[in-house]
């Protein structure tokens, strides 16, 4: 009697153990780092709202000039200074041009310059920082001291000087002007990342397994900096857009009749007392883009940095 129950008990123990074993062996629902990150990002309400705002703004600047029948350049003085209405949601300027389509078109210029300059900043910063951090030793030292010297350059005056040296203001000179003195931080962050990652055991393990330097760099180091770099894109973008607006506001921007948010704001500045909406619209557009980019960066940082996983 007792032995029977004992056997039964032991059999049940084995059954549970087996079930456990199968459970442990079964492939759990597959999750990747990316999916985890998306999940964490989607739980951050501010970041999600900002992402929607960002997409709406990008859609606005790229789609509106394409579908809106109003010409952004046709001058019609009979329609000058019409306040916001159904026909002209953002009103018209002193030449009777529709501000809705001009804001969108100007935004397109601003956003395009912003993205191009951000990409340029990232590329230069990544290459410089990665070389410096990966090489180490005297090369690292020399490159960082050079960067220290460059750090002394003030961003906007240097951009102004660059534009002046080129003599012409177009898309590419603006990109160069905005890039030339703003890639330093990216390079430093990149170098710091590479140096930290270099100490990781899996990098040592890769060396111990006979991996060549390029494999270690491109396979083990760079992919691990991706999270930080994505965040940095959204931190750089607002700065560049603001810089472009600033240059344009000073009269160093895209030449009329073309427009960017900066030149639109400058147009509005001359008549802000009588027709305040003309300056308010581009200013709000700039603020919208910058704030949404910052909130996205914030959300991305929380989502991609495994150290801030407290709400996971």
């Amino acid at each position: 009697m007792v032995t029977e129950r004992r056997q039964e008990f032991e059999a049940s123990l084995i059954r549970t153990a087996e079930a456990r074993g199968q459970e442990a062996g079964a492939a759990l629902q597959r999750a990747s780092l990316l999916r985890d990150a998306v999940h964490r990002f989607s739980r951050n309400r501010g970041a999600v709202v900002a992402a929607f705002g960002f997409v709406i703004m990008i859609g606005f600047v790229f789609i509106v000039p394409w579908v809106d029948s109003a010409s952004p350049y046709a001058v019609d003085f009979s329609k000058a200074y019409i306040g916001p209405s159904w026909a002209h949601p953002f009103g018209t300027d002193e030449f009777g041009r529709d501000l809705f389509v001009r804001t969108a078109l100007g935004g397109r210029v601003s956003v395009e310059i912003g993205f191009a300059a951000t990409i340029a900043i990232m590329l230069i910063g990544i290459v410089y920082g990665a070389i410096s951090g990966f090489a180490g030793g005297w090369l690292d030292n020399a490159m960082m001291r050079f960067l220290d010297a460059l750090y002394g350059l003030p961003y906007l005056p240097f951009a102004i000087i660059t534009v002046t040296i080129f003599g012409v203001v177009n898309f590419w000179t603006m990109v160069v002007a905005l890039t030339v003195a703003s890639w330093f931080t990216t390079a430093r962050v990149m170098r710091g990342q590479i140096i930290t990652l270099k100490e990781n055991d899996y990098v040592r393990a890769a060396h111990a397994l006979g991996a060549r330097w390029y494999r270690v760099l491109f396979r083990h180091l760079l992919p691990n900096t991706l999270g930080v770099l994505i965040v940095f894109v959204f931190l750089e973008l607002p700065g560049v857009v603001l810089g472009e607006a600033f240059l344009s506001f000073l009269g160093l921007g895209i030449s009329p009749p073309k427009a960017s948010w900066g030149t639109l704001a400058q147009d509005g500045y001359s008549s802000y007392q009588s027709h305040p909406y003309i300056i308010v619209v581009p200013a709000l557009a700039i603020a919208w883009l910058i704030l949404s980019a910052f909130f996205i960066a914030d959300g991305l940082r929380d989502a991609l940095d495994p150290r801030t996983r407290e709400n996971f």
Binding site: Y202, A208, A211, R212, R219, L226
Partner: protein, 334 residues
């Protein structure tokens, strides 16, 4: 001919305060299929010895002199490119912390196949097949299904098994395990050690087991080297070393092990070795253990550096007063 011959190896680190003599004249040989245990406390040069063999000493460290002959060919003064071909193919290595030894952005499968494709020029499919076999060999359940998982879905013990699988991927002749179980908890440790032993026999590998845990080497090693302050202080067969330790340091290490049963079981506090390891920039001039040695002061051992000598066949010791030559009890005996 021995598989690995290390002869009078010196590895120094240049620092602002001076040269750190991390490895100072280490010699040993390792035959095919044998296991060598290297024990000693933190900073005694165990890991640097291993890294010197691999040619992976991080700057500002440098192998200053000595020779490392692996499989009949010298590894010192070899070009990095040639060493890269040997690493991972002929010599595998396992690191201490499995939680950080795998790249979090690559799947387990990618990280195993990487080595196979690098050294054996396998096709993608063949490498994947081999990877599944390897995972099964290290007893990962449902290996095929878990190949595309990222490391964060593996526990510490499983990750160490994956590291072992990677190290074994190319059938190396020598496996260097640098504290392979230190970061794991005790039950998992036993499993990993059993696995290592099983695979070592199966693959007919030689192994260097680096650890500070006297219990770990007792089970796995054929020979044991005890290192202290960059030098080999005792080198003997495992059983011989445990039965009759000669060097006062080895004796102290063994005495520090907690005893669970037997006549000499102690109650209360565990014994420890008084003092701390010496400064390796300016080590004690003669015997490096002299400042902590209970037998020092009886003779001139703090003035004349003791040589590593064969006290009986196969048992080497570097001390002026090994246990079998000692008379009476030390001054201030424990």
């Amino acid at each position: 001919m021995a598989l690995l011959e290390v002869e009078d190896l010196h590895t120094f680190f240049k620092t602002r305060e001076g040269e750190v003599h991390a490895v100072d004249g280490v010699s040993f040989t390792l035959d095919r299929g044998m296991t060598l245990g290297i024990v000693g406390e933190s900073g005694c040069g165990k890991s640097v010895t291993a890294l010197s063999i691999m040619g992976l000493v991080p700057p500002p460290g440098r192998v200053v002199s000595g020779s490392v002959v692996f499989n009949g060919r010298s590894l010192v003064d070899r070009k990095q490119r040639e060493l890269e071909d040997i690493r991972g193919r002929d010599i595998g290595m396992i690191f201490q912390d499995p939680m950080t030894s795998l790249n979090p952005t690559l799947t387990i499968g990618t990280q195993i196949t990487e080595t196979l494709r690098r050294h054996l020029n396998m096709s993608r499919d063949a490498a994947r097949k081999r990877a599944v076999e390897l995972l099964e060999e290290v007893h990962i359940p449902n290996a095929a299904g878990r190949l595309d998982d990222y490391p964060h879905r593996y526990s510490g013990g499983m990750r160490q098994r994956v590291m072992i699988a990677i190290a074994l991927a190319c059938n190396p002749k020598l496996l260097i395990a640098d504290e392979p179980t230190t970061a794991l908890d005790v039950t998992v440790q036993a499993g990993v050690l059993d696995l290592l032993q099983e695979l070592r026999i199966e693959h007919e590998m030689a192994m260097i087991m680096i650890t500070h845990d006297m219990g770990v080497v007792a089970e796995t090693a054929d020979d044991i080297i005890v290192m202290y302050a960059g030098q080999v202080v005792e080198h003997a067969k495992t059983l011989d070393l445990y039965d009759s330790p000669e060097h006062p340091y080895t004796e102290a290490l063994l005495a520090a092990l907690p005893q669970l049963e037997g006549e000499d079981v102690r109650h209360g506090r565990l014994t420890s070795i008084p003092g701390r390891p010496p400064d390796l920039i300016a080590p004690p001039p003669a015997c490096r253990f002299a400042p902590r040695c209970p037998y020092a002061g009886q003779d001139d051992c703090a003035v004349v550096p003791p040589e590593l000598r064969e006290i009986r066949p196969g048992h080497w010791v570097r001390s002026a007063h090994p246990a079998s030559e000692r008379m009476g009890h030390p001054v201030g005996a424990r």
